[in-house]
Amino acid sequence: MAAIEVEDLRYSYGDVEAVKGISFEVAPGEVLGFLGPNGAGKSTTIKMLTGQLRPKGGRATVLGFDVTADDPQMQARIGVCFEEKNLYLNMTGKENLEFFASLYGIKDPDALGVLRRVGLADRAKDRVGQYSKGMRQRMMISRAFINTPDVLFLDEPTDGLDPVTSAAIRTTIREEADRGAAVLLTTHDMFEADQLSDRVAFINDGEIAALDTAENLKLRYGTRSVKLRLRDGDGVREEVLPLDHASSARLADLAGSPDLLTIHTEEASLETVFIQLTGRGLAG
């Protein structure tokens, strides 16, 4: 059984339709990357699935619980990392985790162990108000993990972070998925989606434009080609050849040429595919 099942889910803010009948599933142990620009409907979808917003149409279940039922048993088994860093700043990192663990009914939570996973064990007794932005984000992730959830909702978990912190957070997310948690990850970072996701859903203007593995999407919508840089008298010229039968003779010829300087495969990026599908980039 899928951990998350969504069918024709809809939401509108007044007259503005934010989510226009999306459908997808996430299996246990799977990371589904929700890739789309700001305002595409990613966060609204997470809010509906976590019980913060009541859907205006369609149906969705998380771990078999109807998300409209407002059942605390569902919330007991999910972990949510918000885009906004909503921690108790006057509490220490350890106190934050222990308090949230108590709400899940966890006795003697291993708060230090969880903080250790995100590299914050040595700052466990400092107030969160004294943490840097990156540390607070790691704290957010650790809070989402405190109840060992079966489903993780991560809303832009590495937004605005430095590459080292982002890489550390991605590692811990992958560990959670390997443990068996279903992960719904929203991001507008195509690199993150590519690295972390087992499948990627392109969401644009409230609709899922495509949903598949990153590899399949790139293969289906991208162009397989190589770019060659060749010496041309005193200068350098470039030549792009499609990877097909018709170009194989030309490619073999150039590969043996003494004028060949470099050769690179021209894989389509997820962003290229996204633009191709939606006509807009991921940044906006």
């Binding site: 917003l53 006057n90 009914g105």
Partner: protein, 354 residues
């Protein structure tokens, strides 16, 4: 309703309280106000005259002095101990009554009366103690007083201003702890987004509200009792006082909840409290100005909690005498509680950006 979750959130708020300036301010304010008003209008720093008595017989004077209100009387066995306490200014005056003193006075024998005055005692206390003692001796003798004293009061006869200010001070204690603390705590949770974080755990919005309400109830109750005690305004029995204070704290705290639910941030919350301030405060003014038509005070919701405190705690009336007021207060509390719960649903949707 999961009371265990409510308890955990309440414990968290109580633990975080001392780290919040608003929390500390709300707790300190009634104490500061008590001190200021008592310094200005007296009573806290007006200690009762202190008299020590060594009674070698069983004098009627000792019994009457001990029963007298407004005097602090200590009965000792040893005159030397009495003397040393007067010398050390632990007592303002000391009285030694010989065995058979009453009989000797009645027989007209003019027995010795040792009356020691502490050198550092206040002149007012010395006069009160000596005149009171002489009056009692004269009464014992059975003689008519040498003059007939007629007391004429000028100005309005009524309670001293220090007493009439008690509802104001208690009101501040209730509003600071009962309205401000749950209100600001809820608004802070909204501003920092922690309320959203709570609502994706097994905690429900109504459990958060109950925890905040209990926070206000508990602290407002404690602050009101402490303030009454500081002002020596516990004339009734303690249990009755606790009941009226509890009802008052419950109503004040539900106001705090409403403010917290309605305000999206601290600026709006302070604007609401400022706007509501006179509406809430008005009933307390009627105790300072007893000439005003008292029925007007009934139009304000907090009248129904200030009046029972006044009657039971200050005036020493029985709980049954304020049954109507307490009933109205409970009804208002329940009504506002239902309103807060309804507004909370809208608040929850607003939090999620709906």
């Amino acid at each position: 309703m999961n009371l265990r979750l409510v308890g955990r959130m309440l414990r968290k708020d109580l633990a975080l309280g001392p780290r919040s300036p608003i929390f500390l301010w709300a707790l300190v304010m009634p104490f500061a106000l008590t001190l200021i008003l008592q310094v200005a209008f007296g009573s806290l720093f007006d200690p009762e005259p202190r008299l020590g008595i060594v009674d070698r017989g069983d004098s009627q004077i000792t019994a009457e002095l001990t029963a007298m209100e407004g005097l602090s009387v200590m009965v000792l066995d040893d005159p030397e101990v009495l003397r040393s306490q007067v010398e050390a200014n632990d007592l303002d005056a000391g009285l030694v009554l010989q065995a058979g003193f009453d009989e000797a006075v009645r027989a007209g024998d003019q027995p010795d009366l040792e009356f020691w005055i502490g050198g550092e005692s206040l002149a007012a206390n010395r006069i009160i103690l000596s005149v009171t003692t002489i009056d009692l001796v004269r009464a014992l003798e059975g003689d008519d007083p040498p003059v007939a004293v007629e007391v004429v009061s000028f100005g309005e006869e009524g309670l001293p201003i220090a007493i009439r200010l008690i509802p104001v001070i208690v009101f501040f204690a209730l509003v600071m702890a009962g309205v401000f603390l749950p209100g600001s705590s809820l608004v802070e949770e909204k501003e920092h987004g922690t309320l959203s974080a709570l609502l994706v755990t097994p905690v429900r919005a109504n459990e958060v509200l109950v925890a905040k309400w209990l926070l206000g109830l508990l602290l407002a109750g404690v602050m009101a009792v402490v303030t009454l005690a500081l002002n020596r305004a516990v004339a009734g029995n303690w249990l009755a006082v606790l009941v009226v204070v509890l009802v008052a704290a419950a109503l004040a705290s539900v106001f705090g909840l409403l403010v917290g639910v309605a305000a999206k941030d601290s600026a709006v919350m302070f604007a609401i409290v400022k706007g509501m301030g006179w509406f809430l405060f008005a009933p307390a003014l009627f105790y300072i100005f007893p000439d005003w038509p008292q029925w007007i005070a009934m139009l304000f919701p907090l009248y129904w909690i200030v009046e029972p405190i006044w009657q039971v705690a200050v005036m020493g009336e029985a709980l049954s005498s304020v049954g109507l007021e307490l009933g109205v207060a409970v009804v208002i509390t329940a009504g506002l509680g239902v309103l807060a719960a309804r507004l909370a649903r809208r608040m929850q949707a607003q939090l999620a950006g709906a």
